[in-house]
């Protein structure tokens, strides 16, 4: 099987482990030290409506191809536009591409919007998209995602053809990651003689300091780790956009409680993420409002069949699945800030199978253990991070306690995320926790990384710490990845979920919810979505009386 999509295990916000941290020591110290970097300065616009927002971190770079992370994608949606984007209901909506059609199984023809200008004043054409796709295929973080793409050609100034190596049903999903960059602006060499389009990880390239996109905002001031100021693009092409915010000031506040306090004291108008322990505080505040949404990140435990003989027995795995009370965890530990899960795909995903429900049933679990000959249980080790997911260590404790009911003795260890992933890669415990969000917003991605037969060469099952392997499911998903009929494809993926459920390939716990909070006059609901890319260009802030 060939991995055709890429997932990531990060928050959609940039606090995640992939938050890109520069550790360049002395070589670049002097350059980065001059933290004040102004990007393509915009004409000073008269700012009427200002939105002050606080995230847990600011974007690590202005180069949107330097890192694949929530923070960078949030930035991309502010200063660039994708070819197409997801709506709130996970439908594809046209942006810079107005129309598209399949020419044949491997070719997609897209019509591009006319009359769009980059911040630099250059006109937007199909050549820019071709250039951007080429650059994406060079980016260390993005190249895996774009591997299925053979290449793109400009048919004319506003017609584009994207060719894939094989029939690829997720091409439009992928197009949500294509934010055309200003090819003219990024061509040539900078004052140091380095090419302007160079991608340097945690470095100091031209692109990491300068931007020219088509997006609703331009960066006018940026001080790394302190603040970023965005101003509205006066010539923004999307005149339908209701957005009325002229200026956005983004301040990173990494301490959860401080961020909440900043909102409640009125220092900022919009914060994300909202820590679960403070949800109640925000909800009860009259001047603030809370928007929560069932998320798409699945939290689950793997049962390692290579380490524990008993896990090879389907009945034992099922017994484990029956012993876990997902609703209890979501209700008690997560305070309702999670949606109990029985499968990988959240609602709205092609593979989401409505028939699968959490199956807590202690008697059934005990009975299955007895049938498998493990009435007296056995001992296993368990490992979970303690600062990666919401309440991760507490969830692991609760799961350990639930397993004790079927006489399984759990030796639980929890580690900070900095140490956890090394242990995860080595598969050092019998049960390990992981959370996963599919970058492609597609069910197949979950399977490819989490439950496919592990294969070091193809990268399949890279995070399958259970070593569950069912070649038939793999085959089904490979076929689904070549199936261009979306209805048929959905059926196949739902079949995949059904099989994984029946065989108890893993223990799903819940999808972590998302939360944003803002002043009451900020009209948040229409612009937030499960991907956690608030479409700030369309944000409406009502006049305060």
């Amino acid at each position: 099987m060939v991995i055709t999509t890429v997932g990531r295990d990060t928050d959609n916000n940039p606090s995640g482990m992939e938050r890109h941290m520069t550790i360049k020591k002395t070589l670049l110290a002097s350059v980065i030290g001059a933290a004040m970097t102004s990007a393509a300065l915009a004409p000073a616009a008269q700012a009427n409506t200002t939105l002050r927002m606080a995230y847990d971190a600011d974007p690590v770079s202005l180069d949107i191809h330097e890192q694949l992370s929530g923070g960078i994608l949030q930035l991309s949606h502010m200063t660039f536009d994708p070819l197409v984007r997801w709506t709130k209901d996970l439908e594809i909506e046209p942006r810079l591409a107005t129309d598209w059609e399949r020419v044949d199984d491997t070719t997609l023809r897209m019509t591009l919007r006319e009359g769009v200008e980059f911040h630099s004043g250059n006109a937007f054409t199909a050549e820019d998209v071709v250039w951007t796709i080429d650059r994406l295929k060079r980016s260390p973080d993005f190249k895996a995602i774009f591997a299925p793409i053979e290449g793109a050609t400009a048919v004319d100034a506003h017609t584009l053809e994207i060719k894939t190596k094989k029939p690829y049903p997720l091409l439009l999903n992928l197009a949500t990651y294509i934010f055309p960059m200003d090819s003219q602006f990024y061509s040539g060499e900078d004052s140091d003689g380095d090419p302007k389009d160079e991608i340097v990880k945690n470095g100091n390239s031209y692109a990491s300091r300068h931007q020219s996109g088509t997006g609703p905002y331009e960066v006018t001031e940026r001080q790394q780790g302190v603040r970023v100021v965005f101003e509205r693009n006066d010539d923004y092409w999307d005149e339908q956009s209701p957005g009325n915010v002229d200026k956005i000031e983004l301040t990173p506040i990494s301490e959860n409680a401080t961020r909440v306090a900043a909102l409640l004291s009125g220092d900022v108008d919009f914060i994300a993420p909202v820590p679960p322990n403070d949800l109640e505080r925000v909800r009860q505040d009259d001047d603030a409002k809370l928007v929560t949404m069932s998320g798409t990140r699945i939290i689950l435990f793997h049962m390692n069949q290579e380490r524990v003989e008993a896990f090879k027995d389907k009945r034992v795995r099922q017994a484990f699945a029956y012993a876990i009370n997902q609703e209890g965890i979501a209700d008690r530990l997560m305070k309702g800030f999670a949606t109990p899960a029985a499968q990988l795909s959240p609602e709205g995903y092609a593979g989401h199978n409505d028939e699968l429900e959490p199956r807590y049933d202690l008697e059934k679990a005990k009975q299955l253990m007895a049938e498998a000959g493990y009435e007296d249980g056995f001992e296993i080790t368990m490992m979970a991070p303690n600062n990666r997911y919401v309440n991760d260590a507490k969830i692991a404790q609760a799961v350990a306690a639930m397993l004790a009911r079927i006489n399984v003795k759990v030796d639980l260890k929890t580690l900070p995320k900095a140490q956890y992933w090394g242990e995860y890669d080595d598969r050092v415990a019998d049960m390990m926790m992981i959370g996963w969000h599919a970058d492609t917003e597609d069910s197949a991605n979950f399977h490819e990384y989490l439950t496919a037969c592990p294969d070091a060469d193809s990268g399949a099952g890279q995070y399958n710490a259970g070593n569950y392997c069912n070649p038939e499911v793999d085959k089904l998903v490979s076929e689904a990845n070549l199936e261009l009929d979306q209805a048929k494809r959905a059926e196949m993926l739902q079949q995949m979920e059904q099989t994984l459920y029946d065989e108890a390939a893993f223990i799903p716990l819940h999808w972590q919810n998302l939360a944003w909070a803002a002043d009451t006059n900020v009209d948040l609901e229409p612009i937030v979505n499960v991907m956690n890319f608030p479409y700030l260009g369309d944000l409406v802030v009502e006049e305060e009386e």
């Binding site: 550790i23 110290a29 933290a35 260390p140 973080d141 959860n256 409680a257 401080t258 995320k417 992933w421």
Partner: protein, 348 residues
């Protein structure tokens, strides 16, 4: 004097050297920084390239030497998490901690001197006994628990109705033990910028309100010690011959207590006190954790959790420096007040 300072400088360098070697030696155990820099979907080959580029594959000695040479220029490297020079990060968090320590020190001085002196002059008064009783209870309450109780009482609020609310006295008693809450207990609020990254909580009433609870909890750990120390020293002084002589001469008690006796009491108090103020910095780790006070202590714990090695090393070095400096200052001041002390001798 100069020999003393040189000795102390040597002292400081030694401490820092040891810290840096230990921190460097264990960095492999603190976790892999690469894991935190790239996405999980990034293949191993890309990670290896990055590791090579950052010099993480070099032998220990090479890495250490590179660090040491830079450290000599006050360049301790870049924080993995903040993406900035670690010295900048630590210095940015320093004002918050110093303000907290300053506020707590202020509380300690203002409260411990009068209480200590009073309970020495009137050891048998019920108020003195009360203070002594409270102070031993105070010693027995860990600082984080004081902080938690303060949060419960003044930030969250307590409403208790153990007494019958329909009677006048019951309602009054209920009111008495019911607290409103609402005091800020998280972070620094919106401190006023002074210059550069220095922001102060002292410049506005709102800023001060954020400082109150953390400062009280931090002070609570040292206050009982100081009260007891001042009392003990004062009692000793009051029994000395010259005080008896002064009494016999008919000098007013007030003059004896506050001019002569207090002066002699303060000598050992300054010595112990100076060292203890350094100790306060250690307790800020606990206080800052509870109140999410964005100072160095909180930053240090975060750095441990995120295995931000350069930041951990820098914090330990700077705190080491602060300790050595305060101790040296204390010894110098002690030497100035009491010239009979030879500075080259064993530090007090």
């Amino acid at each position: 004097m100069i020999a003393f300072l040189i000795k102390r400088l040597f002292h400081a360098l030694l401490v820092m050297f040891v810290i840096s070697v230990i921190a460097f030696a264990i960095q492999d155990n603190l976790g892999d920084p690469i894991q935190q820099m790239v996405g999980q979907s990034v293949p191993e080959s890309e990670r290896e390239a990055l590791r090579e580029e950052l010099g993480l594959n070099d032998p220990f000695l090479v890495q250490y030497l590179r660090f040491a040479v830079n450290a000599a220029h006050f360049d301790f490297g870049y924080s993995y998490v903040f993406n900035q020079p670690t010295t900048d990060v630590v210095l940015r968090h320093l004002p918050a901690t110093l303000e907290l320590v300053a506020a707590a020190t202020f509380l300690i001085i203002v409260l411990s001197v009068p209480i200590g002196v009073y309970s020495a002059i009137k050891p048998r008064a019920w108020l003195s006994r009360f203070f002594m009783g409270v102070s031993i209870v105070g010693i027995s309450i860990p600082v984080f628990l004081t902080a938690i109780v303060l949060i419960q009482l003044f930030a969250i609020g307590v409403s208790w109705t153990p007494f019958p609310a329909d009677t006048g006295w019951g309602a009054w008693l209920n009111d008495l033990i019911t607290t409103e809450g609402g005091m800020p207990a998280y972070g620094r609020g919106d401190p006023v910028p002074v210059f550069g990254t220095w922001e102060t909580n002292f410049a506005s009433l709102e800023g001060l309100s954020y400082l109150v609870l953390p400062a009280i909890s931090l002070a609570s750990i040292m206050l009982p010690l100081f009260i007891r120390l001042i009392r003990a020293e004062m009692l000793e002084v009051l029994q000395s011959d010259y005080v008896k002589f002064a009494r016999a001469k008919g000098i007013s008690p007030r003059r004896i207590y506050f001019l002569h006796a207090l002066k002699n009491t303060m000598l050992p108090v300054i010595t112990v006190g100076g060292v203890q103020i350094g100790t306060l910095v250690a307790y800020t780790i606990l206080t800052e954790t509870v109140f999410q006070w964005p100072g160095m202590g909180l930053m240090f714990l975060d750095a441990i959790e995120r295995s931000d090695i350069p930041l951990i090393v820098t914090y330990l070095m700077i705190v080491g420096l602060i300790f050595v400096i305060t101790n040296t200052l204390v010894d110098l001041i002690y030497g100035l007040i009491n010239p009979t002390v030879k500075l080259t001798g064993k530090p007090a």
